[in-house]
């Protein structure tokens, strides 16, 4: 059973990637683009295969046919040069199996929903190819046994997310939103990348199984690592101050919004913290920061959701409020509760997102609920108005982040001017070609 489980583990990750690769190669090399039918069948086969393999993994993990398989399943080294190595290792434990099966079940469901939803859309093939990439990313994140593999999956989720947001690229706003989301991801991901390298240096291995050694690290080093993981999780899960990209991400097609920002991607940061819990646990400072960020984000999102006027935007902030609470739960040490909260919340939101296009229909049918003044409005209308304006403008988060990056762009322009001057004065090619 061990060999079968090990093979199934790899297939869970690789089948969606292979299906996306087949469609991608077809697009690049074929004379005609693949039809909707071919695309959905190839990607669907990859996703279904991944789900089947996931069930075999569950059987192996549960010990249904022999001794249960737990812990690291090693496939040798991805790369080994001297003392440095990147292990090809997947991990089987309660958290990884739960998330893997969860993602492997939801992605084919969303693919089935999208067959009808995106029928005859010009980007149908692109959507399904990206879905295959996304499924690979989620399985890598769920099952990776070392940070390098985890980061590979993390990046695939980020890249596919950015392309989904810019899916309707003929309009300017989705493209701008896509770039903003990707920029936030990449800058927050810098934290995870630094953490990956630093973990290898400090613990001698980037395997998750080596994280137990973090208990022996000096407090400052453990806190440093924990804060880096937290930073990365905050970016991926849109916690303050990185929340600005989430409502913009609603520019994408509804099925991808449901999968990414209702179910899987938005919770990936929380999963990272659950994985890195042995490092987070001894660092009280990092945990305190996490609790504060989670609770403040929850309050902020709850305020914004009350004034939001579009269905998906309101859902995004409702999701954010719960994600903030789950972050606080993890950092308080209630990891089992957090995992259960995460899964239940993701299922609820997935259904709500997929139903979001019906909201307009429902509103026309049932009408708006009458607005009764709240206690705050009765007690202090001025304060209520101020809070209303702040929530309506989402604390002007995007403007503040733009302002913070203003000096960086100014420095870039100065460097560019210096470079142009140098090329103008120190070359002898004549006028530009």
């Amino acid at each position: 059973m061990t060999d079968l489980t090990a093979a199934a583990l790899v297939l869970t990750v690789l089948l969606p990637a292979a299906s996306a690769l087949v469609v991608g190669a077809w697009v690049l090399l074929g004379d005609e683009r693949p039809s909707e039918r071919v695309t959905r069948n190839v990607i669907g086969a990859g996703l279904a295969g991944s789900l089947l393999a996931g069930l075999v993994v569950l059987a192996g993990f549960s010990g249904l046919a022999g001794a249960p398989v737990h812990g690291d399943v090693s496939y040798g080294d991805w790369l080994r040069i001297g003392d440095f190595y990147i292990p090809a290792v997947l991990r089987l434990d309660g958290i990884s199996v739960t998330l893997s099966l969860f993602c492997a079940s939801l992605t084919p469901l969303v693919a089935r929903f999208s067959r009808t939803y995106l029928h005859k859309e010009p980007g149908f093939v692109r959507f399904f190819t990206l879905l295959g990439l996304f499924a690979t990313g989620t399985q890598l994140v769920a099952l990776a046994g070392a940070l390098e593999l985890f980061f590979a999956g993390w990046e695939l989720i980020g890249i596919s997310s950015a392309f989904f947001i810019g899916f309707f690229h003929e309009r300017d706003e989705p493209v701008r939103s896509s770039v903003r989301a990707f920029a936030t991801y990449r800058l927050a991901d810098a934290g995870l990348l630094i953490a990956t390298v630093a973990t290898f240096e400090l613990l001698g291995s980037a395997r998750f199984s080596a994280f137990q050694g973090a208990a022996d690290l000096p407090p400052s080093e453990a806190t440093f690592l924990a804060l880096l993981f937290l930073l990365s999780a905050m970016g991926k899960s849109a916690q303050l101050p990185f929340s600005g990209w989430l409502p913009r991400a609603m520019e994408g097609p509804t099925p991808s919004s449901a999968l990414f920002y209702g179910a899987v991607s938005i919770h990936a940061g929380l999963f990272l913290l659950l994985r890195a819990w042995p490092i987070l646990e001894p660092s009280l400072a990092a945990r305190a920061v996490g609790v504060a960020v989670g609770l403040v984000t929850a309050v902020y999102a709850a305020a914004v959701v009350r004034v939001h006027t579009d269905a998906k935007g309101a859902l995004a902030h409702a999701t954010l409020a719960q994600v903030g609470l789950i972050l606080a739960e993890i950092c308080l040490g209630w990891t089992t509760l957090a995992l259960a909260h995460l899964v239940c919340h993701a299922l609820l939101r997935l259904g709500q997102y997929l139903r979001a296009p019906n909201t307009i229909h429902d509103t026309h049918r049932f009408g708006h609920a009458a607005h009764a003044p709240s206690r705050l409005e009765r007690w202090s209308p001025r304060l209520a108005a101020r809070l209303y304006a702040a929530a309506l403008h989402r604390l002007r988060l995007d403007d503040r982040i733009d302002a913070a990056f203003g000096p960086v762009l100014a420095a870039a322009r100065r460097l560019d001017r210096a470079d142009r001057w140098l090329r103008r004065t120190a070359t002898f090619d004549g006028e530009p070609s």
Binding site: V27, L79, A162, R186, T196, L415, T427, S433
Partner: protein, 376 residues
């Protein structure tokens, strides 16, 4: 050394990548150089990679640089002059290595690579080649891989130069960060290609700094990845400009509708250049960061930020080139020949990403331990 002893460990994989970069893009575009030049370039690369003498190897890469300079001369005098200077430095490095003056050889060889890779502020030649003779730039990237290989094999083992590793690492890392910032504010596609090339050149120098302590693999993999990813980008930019003329980044270009395959291939090569998982870029970045961290954590952080900024810049450039309201074009999308070449380069990037040991394993056997006697 007998042929039997040499062949099993010989750098066939490195040679294959170099030859692929020489030939593949030329097969894709209409510009046809003379077969004699191509044969000469290929011959110099074979000699450079397989020679057991440092003098011969450096002479071979110097010859390749002079061929590139000759080909570049009609379009880019600055680029040609830079390549000629690089050739002279390579000859000097070979001569110094033969006299066992490894510190001098290291300095000359590093300077030659810096000129070829486009390390700021000596990037003017490469910048000019990127703008005026992109195909020559692409070919010289291939022979730069050979130059890096020769450098790693013959001159980077001197304990005396290891003391300067931190300096090179930090300079390369912060130059990469500056170049990545410049990439963010480019106004046309050639400018993006130019600054991306400069950024990767700086990364390569940082990798070479770390290689002085025996961590050669990062430098070699970065050189190969840069060659393949930038080679693919150069080919696609040439293809796009042949269809629509110079590409401005002032606003949305809307070309994805007319050139969907070109857009998809551009996204893949751009991604490979910034460490897209599944490609050689991902492994190269990871390996480089671990190597740099050992020398200078600040340098490693600078490289991480540089890569993040370059990734954002690449997405912006992709968006402004291909996304937006569809603009019709009478020109065709990528032709079968161009598609085949793009697929070949992508396949090489993916193969090296999934199994980097294919390249680094044989190179490991060839470069380690250092062939002290071979420097003669």
């Amino acid at each position: 050394m007998t042929p039997e002893a040499l062949l099993p460990a010989a750098p066939w994989e490195t040679l294959a990548v170099c030859l692929l970069l020489f030939v593949a893009p030329l097969a894709a575009v209409d510009e046809r150089p003379r077969a004699a030049w191509l044969a000469l370039l290929a011959g110099t690369i074979v000699v450079a990679l397989f020679a057991t003498s440092g003098v011969v190897a450096y002479a071979a890469v110097a010859t390749a640089a002079l061929v590139h300079a000759w080909l570049a001369l009609p379009k880019s005098r600055t680029g040609a002059a830079t390549l000629a200077v690089s050739a002279a430095l390579a000859v000097g490095a070979g001569a110094a290595a033969a006299r066992h003056e490894l510190t001098t050889a290291f300095a000359l060889s590093t300077a030659a690579i810096a000129l070829r890779a486009g390390l700021p502020p000596v990037h003017l030649g490469v910048a000019s080649l990127c703008e005026r003779a992109p195909l020559v730039q692409l070919q010289q990237l291939a022979s730069t891989i050979a130059l890096v290989f020769v450098h790693l094999r013959f001159v980077d083992h001197d304990p005396a130069v290891a003391g300067h590793a931190v300096l090179l690492v930090r300079y390369g890392a912060f130059a990469a960060l500056a170049a990545a910032l410049v990439t963010l504010v480019q106004r046309d596609l050639r400018g993006f290609y130019r600054s991306t090339t400069v950024m990767h050149g700086a990364l390569l120098i940082a990798g070479l700094g770390a290689a002085t302590r025996g961590n050669f693999a990062a430098a070699l993999l970065v050189a190969v990845t840069v060659g393949l990813a930038l080679g693919g980008l150069a080919m696609l930019i040439a293809s796009l400009e042949a269809r629509v003329g110079p590409v401005s980044l002032a606003g949305p270009g809307g070309r994805a509708g007319a050139f969907p395959r070109l857009a998809a291939a551009f996204a893949c090569f751009g991604g490979a250049g910034v460490g897209l998982p599944g490609t050689a870029g991902f492994v190269a970045d990871d390996l480089l960061l671990h190597t740099l961290w050992a020398e200078s954590p600040a340098g490693a952080v600078a490289v991480i930020l540089a890569t993040a900024l370059l990734a954002v810049a690449t997405l912006i450039v992709f968006a402004r080139t291909f996304l937006g309201r569809t603009v019709a074009s009478p020109a065709p999308d990528l032709r079968p020949r161009e598609r085949a070449v793009a697929a070949l380069l992508l396949a090489a990037l993916v193969a090296l990403g999934l199994a980097p040991g294919v390249l680094l394993g044989p190179a490991d056997g060839f470069l380690d331990p250092p062939p002290v006697s071979a420097a003669r």
